[in-house]
């Protein structure tokens, strides 16, 4: 693992990574178990330094990354939390159907794979919006917000 990746993970935890790089790193985290392990260790270390309770190693971390890359898609955990029972046989059936559709679509002429582009675009839009609000806050009150990760979320 290169020092550059270490630095990027550090910046991601500090909420200081530019939006495009954040998207790329999240995708790498999704695909690389070693990298994910390193991310968790860094996160746990920081929590201890801040005297905050260390979160247990998350089993749904991949889902969290996917949620950040594609915020509109509900996760399995959120469906469970919302009281929707998870029907595994239905899930397998849906997976088979999706595979069939994918094969069909990929065999069609003039196929355009929109999903990755849309996914990356949505993610970078969110990240860019957060990054800009962070810059505004730093100029609004530098002594409070410079170097301090803050994430503004939509009012419910």
């Amino acid at each position: 693992m290169s020092n550059s990746i270490h630095e990027q993970i550090s910046c991601l935890l500090d909420d200081e990574l530019p939006p495009e790089q954040a998207t790329q790193l999240l995708q790498q985290l999704r695909d690389d178990a070693t990298l994910r392990h390193h991310y968790h260790r860094q996160q746990a270390l920081r929590m201890r330094l801040h005297h905050e309770p260390t979160p247990p190693m998350s089993t749904d971390f991949l889902e969290q990354i996917n949620a950040q890359l594609h915020p509109s898609r509900p996760s399995m955990q959120s469906l469970k939390a919302a009281g929707h029972p998870v029907n595994w046989s239905m899930g397998l059936l849906a997976l088979a159907a999706a595979l069939l559709i994918w094969l069909t679509v990929n065999n069609m002429p003039q196929t355009t794979s929109l999903a990755p582009t849309t996914l990356a675009h949505t993610s970078s839009t969110h990240a860019a919006s957060h990054a800009r609000l962070r810059e505004y806050l730093q100029a609004h009150n530098s002594s409070r917000y410079v170097g301090r990760p803050i994430l503004l979320t939509a009012h419910r």
Partner: protein, 319 residues
Amino acid sequence: MPNSFILYLSLVVGILVSSAGAAEELSATALLENLRRTMLERNFKATAHFFRDGTTTRMDYQHGIRAGKRFERMLDLDGHAHEVLRHDNIVTCWLPQTQRLVIDHRPSTQSFLMTVPERLSAIQAYYRFQAQPDPDQANWIIDIIPEDAYRYARKVWLTQDTYLPLKIEVYNEHNRVIERVELDHLQPNPQHMPLQATPAQNAAGARHIHQDPPQPVSQAQFVLTQTLPGYQPILFTRMPLPESGDTVEHLLLSDGFSSLSVYREKHAGIKTGLTHSGSVNAYSKTLPDGSVVTVIGEVPAQAVRQLAEDTQLAAPATP
């Protein structure tokens, strides 16, 4: 009983009650004035515990006056060595982990702990002040109660003799604590603080905020059709944003205790609507020319929404 006697009795009771209320308000105002003076004259240090956005940060805090200029220094005690320094009216932030140096030439606040307005009488239409002795600790407690929904309530604990701040709490519209600063190990600080705590070699790569001189508010390409009651313009400037290289218009407003900023830029890339985190609320909307205006600050959601709704494009200048 003759009616005239009852009338006189009511009058006397009324005068006594109103006098007692006036005395209480005067006392609270005097205590706030003492706090403001303390923050301009005294050297002290403490460990400050900042509770904001659901997390607590522990800082070594020093406050001092040298040659009539105020110094403040905060050093993160929880491992990051993040350092914030105020020298007169310049705030410098040094982030050793990322080797970032940020210098704000016109910070919005006068103190890292709390800003106390110079003319309290000017804001008494927007805040009510009440003082009471702390029954357990022999300190003073001052309630700063807003008269409308455009600002948060505050409560300040002061030492009884020296008027040093011990605790400051900020409450949201549901009377829940959303911020707290608590000072312990409070003591006089006779030492001279370092003038520049940050390595000088990093100054070349520093990011500067508000470096250009302020401009008249009339230069802004947006107008406020109404201003929020009690909020006065403090600063208007155009500044470059380091990440994008774009320029943004920035108007800072304050009522003395609370402040909020209005930003307008052409390619902001900001999602419109209301967002929040802890005491901070922000509201963004798109103007007819496609630019985005964002109002942001440590004020209730109603304040940022109202001010954003009252922000419009300025009419083009006539030749």
